[in-house]
Symmetry: D2
Subunit: 366 residues, 4 copies
């Protein structure tokens, strides 16, 4: 089969690789029907994630159709449409039993396209399938479900739930990229009074406003802080969600949170930040970090099903899976291409699936 393979820093290629096979009785194999590219895939390509070894197939977000199941698998069957998400859960370790799948110590966590082969491929092996994939209702299209693989539960769990967003709150979201926009959508589920988005990219800010943000601030650092304080009568925001991943934006969040408020860090950081305890010790703030656990995925899928959450707003570009390299080019050059999220469509969407096979495997309403 073909897959997008990491060749070492700066290099990746759509190339022939062996098809995946079942390695444990809890594994399944899926045919990939839709995938997408994440900011962390770009980090891997830059060489920022040394755990990824050359030769690894990239990608940790997919909707697919089950083609094989291990003998201990009981809840999914060949032909089922499933969401394979960024987090794999062994279901057995102390962390998994506490629904902290992102911290799985039993062989799961973020492994796809990281520690094992990923899903930017024609087929993929998914370990611990019973506790790691989600069946897709027939009425939903692959694209409607695809962003439940990472950015929607990430922003919801690590941003909105950790930040304790409540009806009537004032929420600031620092960063208007895909995760920041997902935070606008998922914070809205709790009907805050105001959602203020802060970024330096006016296109992205405009998109955030379209998706329900009530205000946009095209500033950074102290100027952004002053503007937030001005908008909140000097009090600050109830919840500040960090969706960038650099010290400056984290520190901005800590500067604009009100006494008794929450800072929820979602960004992936490479450097330490300064925590101004000389100001914060008395303010009664709560600061949280975390990787997504994906425990909220079924709930978010229900909201998509009932039309309360629309993930299609993320999509700016669509490519065939075999055009993965062009997709990477477009996504990497977002400033020029305007790419926000790109969809990689599998053979099913290219009408290349033989009619006979499709009868057994088809289930997408799109």
């Amino acid at each position: 089969m073909k897959a997008l393979v990491f060749q070492g820093p700066g290099s990746r290629q759509w190339e022939d690789v062996p098809e995946p096979t079942l390695e444990a009785p809890t594994d399944i194999i899926i045919r990939v029907d839709a995938s997408t590219i994440c900011g962390s895939d770009l980090h891997i390509l830059k060489g920022d994630v040394p755990a990824v070894k050359p030769g690894t197939i990239l990608g940790h977000e997919a909707v697919g159709t089950v083609t094989e199941v291990g003998e201990a698998v009981t809840t999914v069957a060949v032909g089922d449409r499933v969401l394979a998400s960024c987090i794999t859960s062994c279901g057995r370790c102390e962390q998994c039993k506490a629904a902290r799948y992102g911290l799985c110590t039993g062989g799961g966590g973020w492994i796809l396209g990281h520690l094992i082969d990923g899903v930017q491929a024609e087929y993929a092996r998914i370990p611990f399938a019973d506790t790691s994939v989600y069946k897709v209702p027939p009425a939903l299209t692959d694209e409607q479900v695809l962003f439940l693989a990472d950015i929607l539960p990430t922003s919801f769990e690590v941003g909105v739930l950790n930040g304790h967003v409540k009806p009537g709150d004032t929420v600031a979201i620092v960063g208007a990229g895909p995760v920041g926009l997902a935070a606008v959508l998922t914070a809205s589920l709790f009907t805050p009074s105001r959602i203020i988005v802060i970024d330096l990219d006016s296109t992205r800010l405009a998109r955030a406003i379209e998706c329900g943000a009530s205000g946009a601030i095209e500033l950074t650092g102290e100027a952004a802080r002053d503007r937030v304080l001005e908008l909140t009568d000097g009090i600050g925001v109830d919840v500040a969600i960090e969706a960038v991943g650099i010290p400056e934006t984290f520190e901005l969040c800590a500067d604009i949170v009100r006494s008794g408020g929450h800072v929820a860090n979602v960004g992936v950081h490479g450097k330490p930040a300064t925590l101004h305890l000389e100001r914060l010790w008395i303010k009664g703030v709560t600061i949280t970090t975390g990787l997504v656990d994906t425990f909220s995925t079924p709930r978010l899928m229900s909201l998509v099903s009932t039309g309360k959450l629309d993930p299609l707003v993320f999509v700016t570009h669509r490519f065939a899976l075999e055009q993965a390299e062009e997709a990477y080019d477009a996504f990497s050059a977002a400033a020029e291409t305007g790419a926000f999220k790109v969809v990689l469509e599998g053979a099913k969407h290219q009408q290349l699936v033989p009619v006979g096979a499709a009868a057994g495997l088809e289930g997408d309403a799109s």
Copy 2:
């Protein structure tokens, strides 16, 4: 001044009474600019609430303008527009310090129009003003704020928050009267996947659908139960909110709640219900009761201010305050008149306020 006075069971009259005066340094006097009638006012008139003595002025919901303040009052001043709500809080007892103002043991709780004179009058005395009234922002009209005096915080706190409504939940609301409809509006703040309303009045069900309910069931008892189970694949609902106050509707809620779900009782009950512990002991359900505390009032007011909550949907009839008797007639005969909530408008809205006085007291944008 004039006021609507309870004369004993079956009898009430708009009549001359002495103007209220400050009785404690924590009191204020307000001019009533808008009031409304509650289902519990009708209960009092039927003689169901013996604590209410003949001679008591009725009413526990008002928006007014402060005309006098006691000398210990520090947070409201003459001329302020305030919301006087069903719950008065001493702010000092153990219950008030735990934000359970409805259970106040220091002289507050539900006292207006119950244990002391109420607010269906030209002027009213409000005890413990610093901890019991809420200032109204200039941009809001009296009518936009009026239903924050009772039904909105009641349905939100006792129904939605006690019931732990969460994004993606399936919620059933039994009873489509004013409190049930307020539960539809305030449950929506948490974006459940579905809100199913159950009542026997098709007009009220239609109103619930207009206000955001996703389904309506015009059935009762076992037939209603069967329909809910059918709609939920036999599982039942995550949260069942009781907004009627009779044993049958409470028992329906306990019958339709899923394993691990919540029953939140909002209705005022006069009789015991049967609790089927032989079925419920194993189901892991949580059942809650309560009177409103009104701790959520400022938060709900913020949501009205930012357009996230529209209380005007309740209003079907408007009367001048001096037409209070006609208003009671219309509200009591809801089946014929179609009355849902009636607004009693004070002199300010009748353009009877002298221009000079208005300059100091006026603040309503309506």
Copy 3:
């Protein structure tokens, strides 16, 4: 092998049965080293639990040594000492993923000695082993761990945690049997100011006082209620835990709980109770029910390991496993025998294990 087999209402026998074998790749087989008898075993014998078919081996509490593992089992190995508890968890269904294992819809829940053969036997098959058994630390004896199989997590999760016991609370526990006593021990983990135990058996009340209860009431019904109110200045208790399972004791709990307090039902009920909503609707109470989930078992085991929780207080009688019938006789006639909890000791404790086998399987420090 030998096992205690249910023969239909009123009848059970220690008899020859086939040895259990692995039926699914997630199963294990254990040699039973210690078991005990539960009040629900007596209910089964009375014929109160028709789901139990004649021919079923009884018992759902055991400490044992693993003798065989299915091929999908990854976290326990032959020779491991494990606790097999009343709840089996598939680990895959929605309820299990929310840690509500008692409500498992994937084939688990309470199945041992109920829907499948139980553990009052020389060997037993335990399904879904990876998510259902708990490894025992070498320093703990079998007896120290045995009551973690049911009564300790039951009283802790369904009584103490559901009841939100907090430091400084006044807690009433209605029923001083094994579960009530376990509630005294596990409520004490939160250091309430007072624990009041109510029962009609003075011996059991004395045991409760020895185990940390601060008061005992040897009364029932209204007299018990009046005594509790007298002890609490007419306010009632913060938390009332029902540990009997009849309408009268549940209603007593609802009568003695304070405004804003919690009633946590632990008892197994066979009849409906009366819920006095005409008094309770305004009191802001929370009533919970539930079957144990056993999510707290590792935490409780840690407390036993560090000496913070002593389960040996339950043990009044010890029998060899093969004396299971005598053990049932003693446990059933508790009033005469003074039996509280009886331990059934497996062959290991009878020094009948061949030396060679013991080398591989032994791990009990007792």
Copy 4:
């Protein structure tokens, strides 16, 4: 009367000052029967708290007897024994209504001995008495109650409750001074499996062990971190409580907390710390800060009353109030004097209260 007056950095004196008088209808005056000295009083003397103006009477912890009450005061009367604590609450502002009295914006918060005259004096004025003082039960001595004025609620609320200490947890407390020791006592209320205390003072560590800590580490920095990880199988602690107030100890807490754990900062910081987000972003940690609110004071007092909490372990030295200067000398030179907490005893304890007055005011069982 006499009082201990701050004269500017480095200087304080027991001198004649005017007696306090009622300034607002919500004020009371108390005769100080017992006071103590806090680490923050030493900070003020060093000049670290510029908000304190020369001429201010120091002290924010006292047990006293009410001698005068303002006319709006309803819940305390002349002759009542009360605890006056570090936090004053207006009871009216948004923060007070949310029980965050430490963040009071209505004129309260930490004001005694800071923004207004304090309680190291023969008499003191206490503002907002109805919402700021706590009546003392007759059975408790002044000393038993005195440490409820600051260190016990501080460690409980800001350390133990913010840190979500649970039964079975492993807790590390960094700093074995009075607040750290109070954290040992109040963390014990939740029965963690282990409490590990880290400090460089062996005497203080020994005291912590006597008070219930299960382990002591006389190390700092990386050596302390390595020892904690060694004791916890490389996992780290569930909760790390910072009770010192310097960057190094905060950073140690962030280094030893497990994935999914809590860091609760109690220390008062003067400098920023480094937050290693490059390691912490993925660990799912929660970091909290805060000033005490004292909402837990009645609950802690109940635990002292029932013998579940013994505050007398803090007392190493006793002085007459008029010896306040000697008391400061002893407390400041703790390393030499071994002083931990010193009690300043008012005239009542010096048998100088005239018999006639004592009849009306006496209530201390000591």
